[in-house]
């Protein structure tokens, strides 16, 4: 039982990382109908920023986690830069396929730039949270895990409040609902898109803090698998829907962690824990085939 609770918490921990990344995917897709393949690599940008800024913060007597401020700034700069330089010109030409290729190219670019700048070998991130383990009813809970889950939940609630209640949040929802009409209503569409990218990238920076607290390493390709799984989470929850990304992220995290732990026993050794990635992508395929709109999505008929 204790092991099961541990695995459950591990799942929620990685799930909240996926959820934050999935939010970035989902918001961008909702507003410009583009799968931002480079989004996973924003986490890598955040992680490298943490590698270099944590020692600075610690040296100046601040807690290590305050380095996340730099990570947010770096990620927002990269995210907005990518949008302005690569996506905007392609978007204005209006070809979805070109936009998708540009996104893939951007992801390649960021990964290889990091490889040239920092080398292919992983760099260690210093310890971020110094929290001792908690024992509740005979189950030892890792302090890092608890704090990660708490940060994830708080950020999601704040984001949901922002999107639902503020003027800018309403503008974002309006643009994703109907772009032409929101122009007529006086919404500055380009500004709103930039804001969406900024928020998405900022979330990726926070996700990179949470991820590095659990797996203290930064390497050029770290974002690609993480990003793909977060994307699966976004599709599972219903792409373009903010609460959907949260649910999807947590579900994918739980599935991954539980399948890693119990797959060998459950299938009698036919499938090993190495198949957990295949299961995550299997979920993607099943969702796309059964309900492409996702758990919270509404099926919309195609206009001809």
């Amino acid at each position: 039982m204790a092991v099961f609770v541990q695995q459950l918490l591990n799942g929620l921990k990685i799930g909240s990382v996926y959820a934050l990344v999935a939010l970035g995917y989902t918001m961008v897709y909702g507003i410009i109908k583009l799968i931002n393949f480079a989004h996973g690599d924003f986490i890598m940008v955040g992680a490298y920023t943490l590698v270099f800024t944590i020692p600075l913060m610690v040296a100046s007597g601040m807690p290590a986690w305050t380095a996340v401020i730099f990570a947010v700034v770096a990620c927002v700069a990269v995210g907005v830069g990518v949008e302005k330089v690569a996506y905007k010109p392609v978007r204005e030409k209006g070809n979805r396929m070109s936009a998708l290729i540009t996104a893939v190219a951007m992801s390649l670019f960021l990964e290889n730039l990091a490889q040239v700048l920092f080398g292919a070998s992983p760099k260690t991130v210093s310890n971020i949270f110094k929290i001792s383990n908690i024992t509740v009813g005979g189950v030892t809970l890792n302090g890092n895990t608890i704090i990660t889950i708490i940060i994830g939940v708080v950020v999601m609630l704040v984001l949901q409040a922002f999107v639902q209640n503020t003027k800018m949040g309403r503008a974002m929802r309006a643009v994703s609902e109907d772009r032409e009409a929101s122009i007529l209503a006086g919404i500055k569409v380009n500004q709103t898109i930039t804001l969406t990218f900024a928020i998405g990238s900022g979330l990726a920076a926070i996700a990179s803090l949470m991820y590095c607290a659990a797996y203290p390493q930064a390497m050029p390709t770290m974002g690609s698998m993480l990003g793909l799984k977060a994307f699966v989470a976004a599709v599972l929850g219903g792409i373009g829907i903010v609460p959907g990304a949260m649910i999807g992220g947590l579900v994918i995290g739980l599935v991954e962690s539980l399948s890693k732990a119990y797959l060998t026993t459950l299938t009698g050794g036919v499938l090993t824990s190495a198949f957990s990635d295949a299961i995550v992508f299997g979920i993607l395929i099943v969702v796309l085939l059964i309900k492409p709109a996702g758990i919270l999505g509404k099926d919309v008929g195609e206009k001809v």
Binding site: I35, S98, I101, L108, L284, I285
Partner: protein, 350 residues
């Protein structure tokens, strides 16, 4: 205009055949005289593999108009299948020996590898092709990853393979029986078959679906059938390319077939022009030869590719040749001043 058209059609295959034979003769002479070393013939082999991969991906991406990000999954299936077949045949002493026996062993293996890749292409295609655009790209990516993970964890696909296999390791000890002459002709045949395919009524159906799938359906085309057909066809040749690769490189690591590798072939297709087979040939050739020429800048290779890709998509989204085909006949007639420049092959500019 009808008369020159007919004349051109009669002349075209002959001119191309002569061109291919001349190129082959040059190749033979260069190898015999030692200008083409083992190293260079290795590069030529890589070029042939890239050409088959890029042209076959172009059928799905350029002619059908759907981005597939899991093409390397099919390549992996072909590579592993054919490698295991040649291993099994070598173990039971069927068709072993230099020259003709090796050639037939190789040919049988890669064709079976291609066929299995085609079957998987069909199995993947039937569900996947219900989707399109972004979702199709993602689902092919998902299938590609699943194929990779599964192969990585199959016991008979690692180590020494078959009964002496070990999961999670590279497959080693594959007989290196691809040779450049054979691979050259296989490439020619593959490209020829693909060219015939896209020029047939099937190919025209694909292009109609690319332009507008709903109205093609309304005019009576069985859209799903053609989509799955194109996907299967494309997977078959990816499997062949994988087979050649396996018998050229001699050991297979699953890291040769990652998502990023699939993206490299997408880059070739986009550079060459989506919907132009000759464009894919040129781009596949250049992009796989270039890194060898620029070895000193190896670490910047993908960086440059990615920037170039973005620049191409922004400023010349049709790629090098767009949907046009390069034609030897046209070049010759222009060269000798017959002035038939207005006859363009497959020139449906968008």
């Amino acid at each position: 205009m009808i008369i020159p058209n007919i004349q051109r059609k009669a002349k075209n295959p002959l001119v191309n055949l002569i061109g291919i034979i001349v190129a082959f003769a040059v190749l033979v002479i260069l190898v015999r005289t030692g200008v083409v070393s083992t190293y260079i013939s290795g590069i030529l082999m890589t070029i042939c593999i890239s050409i088959i991969m890029a042209t076959s991906l172009n059928i799905a991406t350029g002619f059908l108009g759907q981005i597939a990000l899991g093409h390397c999954g099919f390549m992996a299936i072909g590579a592993y299948t054919s490698a295991l077949i040649t291993k099994a045949m070598a173990n039971s002493n069927i068709l072993v020996g230099a020259g003709a026996p090796n050639f037939f062993r190789f040919l049988i293996a890669i064709i079976i590898g291609g066929a299995l890749a085609a079957i998987f292409g069909m199995l993947v295609g039937i569900p996947a092709l219900r989707l399109k655009g972004d979702y199709l790209a993602i689902i092919t990516l998902g299938f590609g990853e699943i194929i990779r993970v599964v192969i990585q964890n199959l016991k008979f696909c690692g180590g020494n393979g078959l009964s002496q296999g070990a999961a999670g390791q590279a497959l080693v000890g594959i007989s290196r029986i691809s040779n450049i002459y054979v691979v050259y002709w296989i490439t020619v045949v593959c490209v020829f078959l693909m060219y015939c395919f896209v020029r047939s009524r099937y190919g025209r159906a694909l292009m109609a679906i690319r332009e507008d799938d709903v109205s093609s359906g309304a005019t009576g085309l069985n859209v799903t059938y053609y989509k799955v057909l194109a996907f299967t066809f494309s997977a078959f040749f990816a499997g062949i390319a994988g087979g050649i690769f396996a018998h050229y490189i001699g050991s297979l690591s699953i890291n040769n077939f990652t998502f990023m590798k699939s993206v490299e072939y997408v880059i070739m297709v986009v550079f060459g022009g989506m919907g132009s087979l000759t464009g894919s040939i040129v781009a596949g050739g250049i992009l796989s030869a270039l890194p060898e020429a620029l070895r000193r800048f190896a670490e910047y290779r993908m960086l440059v590719y990615s920037i170039a890709l973005i620049v191409v998509v922004i400023f010349k989204p049709t790629g090098l040749l767009g949907t046009r085909e390069f034609s030897l006949t046209n070049v010759l007639s222009r060269f000798f001043g017959k002035g038939k420049a207005e006859i363009k092959d497959g020139g449906q500019d968008e």
